[in-house]
Amino acid sequence: MVAIDAVRANEEQWKGWEEEGYVVVEGAVSGESLARLQSAFDRGVEASKAAWLEDVAVGHRSSSYFDLPNAFQQDDIFLDMVDNPNTLGLLRDFLGEDMIARGLTARSVPPCPISYVGWHPDMHRDRHPQHIKVQVYVNDVAEERGAFAYVPGSHKEGAGPYPRVKHLDAMPGHRVLPGKAGTAVIFNTYGWHTSMINRTLEPRKSLIMSYCVFHELNDRWSQAPERKRARAEMRAKLSPERQYLFGHDRGDGTGKGQKAEGRGRAEDKKR
């Protein structure tokens, strides 16, 4: 279930979602909770940066970006972000009640004359079920601070082809989406996106959360012991709603779980 007070998609947001493949929600996180998020994020980075740098030195990880390890254990504010009422309602509209949260990444992208990632879709329409990502800026992200960018309409069936470009800003028809801290970008992962070049002196800090439809899942939950343990530990902290949102007691993730009844999703909701 989703909190009743969740904000729902308005006409304009529906149009943006269907036509362009993304919706920007300004002020999705603000005030007290934004401050908590920012301090938790920075504390987390400080606490775990050394280990990351070691991995970089050994050659096991890339220095092009840094993801906070197990953010949920670091602070509950990260959990609050996953069912943030300012975005969750829209996600339910776009995915339906049977939605499930797949995870959260707390990412720092250092300044660099090149981007850590090129233009790409995460998912392929013919191979994967619908996934949605929500990117929440944790610090102010001006255009030149490696803002998220998307090719409007590239999520549609038969869109493209899109060329390999040497310079990110040469991607035909792309749109750069800068935003203040607390801005959320909800985007369709079938669409082409990237992170532009960060030419400022500060890293770009953001959360990237992933959602999809439970009964469409075609991958098993990782059966690795540590993964199961982590899920079990985390479950202890979750309210029933959150347990449901994270897929607990909903089968093994192969879609065999009970499908939530009568809960439509975007495609069924053609108005």
Partner: protein, 313 residues
């Protein structure tokens, strides 16, 4: 049917018939005339004399090669390299080294490049801040080296460690006119997974490397060339190192056939170092890896590109 020559004309690439080995080492025993540092990799009694290299090249049809300094960074440590360059100017060009703690790197560079066939310098560490720290390239220890390379058209022979890779794009952007040869498949290995095996490097690293995003991004800088070399050190398989094939084709897609250069890493690929395929295997490697490419493209990788980029005469 179009001739190779005609094809080249359309592609306007350099003459591709020449074979050039863009990464080899020669060294002598430690002597008064040719002092050098001795260590596990290079015991004082070991030697890889230039005559042996020349014979190996002649036996395998390699015309020229680029000698990379090994066995120390001070001027006197370069004695054998300089000797080889001045003795066989028509066969070799050279890459020198610079001590990390040298007071005046510019003077060091100019002195080495002045009279000999030294066309550039090899860099490992770049002397900049760690990831997530503010970056000002003017504060890098190696900034004066890059600046001088830009002024004098020296080549930078780059083999950074993984902890330094994030600094490279800043330098490439600031010095677009500097020719950079990025060593050993652009795998910038980590510090802790170097070992010696049969007296040659054995580097445990995952492929594709963790910093592949950087590799993709750096390919847009026009003056970077990727060295198709060092496979033996990274591969978990015997020649032709099938586990590296995908990565080598990825590099080819990024850089195009005209921005790859083959190098052998002689002498560490010879039988003396327990390499079964030997130098001949290295010479055949480009053909083996890029088997679906045209002969002309393979020719560019095996020498045509190095001839133009390094200006072999």
């Amino acid at each position: 049917m179009r001739s190779e020559r005609q094809r080249k004309a359309w592609l306007t690439v350099a003459e591709v018939l020449v074979k050039i080995d863009a990464h080899v080492h020669v060294f002598s025993k430690v002597t008064a005339e040719f002092p050098r540092e001795a260590n596990d990799q290079l015991p004082a009694e070991d030697e890889a004399p230039v005559e042996r290299l020349l014979k190996t090249m002649d036996d395998t049809g390699v015309d020229r090669s680029l000698l990379i300094q090994i066995g120390g960074t001070s001027i006197e440590h370069h004695a054998y390299l300089l000797h080889c360059l001045s003795t066989y100017p028509e066969r070799f060009l050279g890459i020198g080294r610079i001590p990390d703690d040298v007071d005046d790197p510019v003077d060091h560079m100019d002195r080495l490049a002045e009279t000999s066939g030294v066309i550039g310098f090899r860099l490992f560490g770049l002397g900049g801040p760690e990831p997530l720290q503010p970056v000002d390239i003017r504060e890098f220890r190696t900034y004066p080296i890059w600046k001088r390379a830009a002024e004098m058209d020296y080549v930078i022979w780059l083999y950074p460690r993984s902890i330094d890779v994030h600094l490279v794009p800043f330098l490439l952007e600031a010095f677009p006119q500097v020719r950079v040869g990025y060593n050993h498949l652009m795998v910038s290995p980590g510090t802790e997974n170097f070992q010696m095996e049969n007296g040659r490097p054995r580097i445990e690293t995952r492929m594709p490397p963790a910093h592949r995003q950087f590799v993709r991004g750096m390919s847009r800088f026009e003056n970077v060339r990727a060295l198709i070399s060092g496979q033996y050190a990274f591969s978990n398989e015997a020649w032709p190192y099938a586990d590296l094939r995908d990565w080598q084709h990825y590099l080819a897609r990024l850089f195009g056939a005209d921005r790859l250069m083959w190098g052998s890493d002689f002498p560490f690929v010879t039988e003396e170092y327990g390499d079964e395929a030997g130098y001949g295997g290295q010479v055949r490697l480009v053909e083996e890896v890029y088997d679906e490419w045209t002969g002309e493209e393979r020719g560019m990788i095996s020498g045509g590109n190095a001839e133009g980029f390094l200006r072999f005469k």
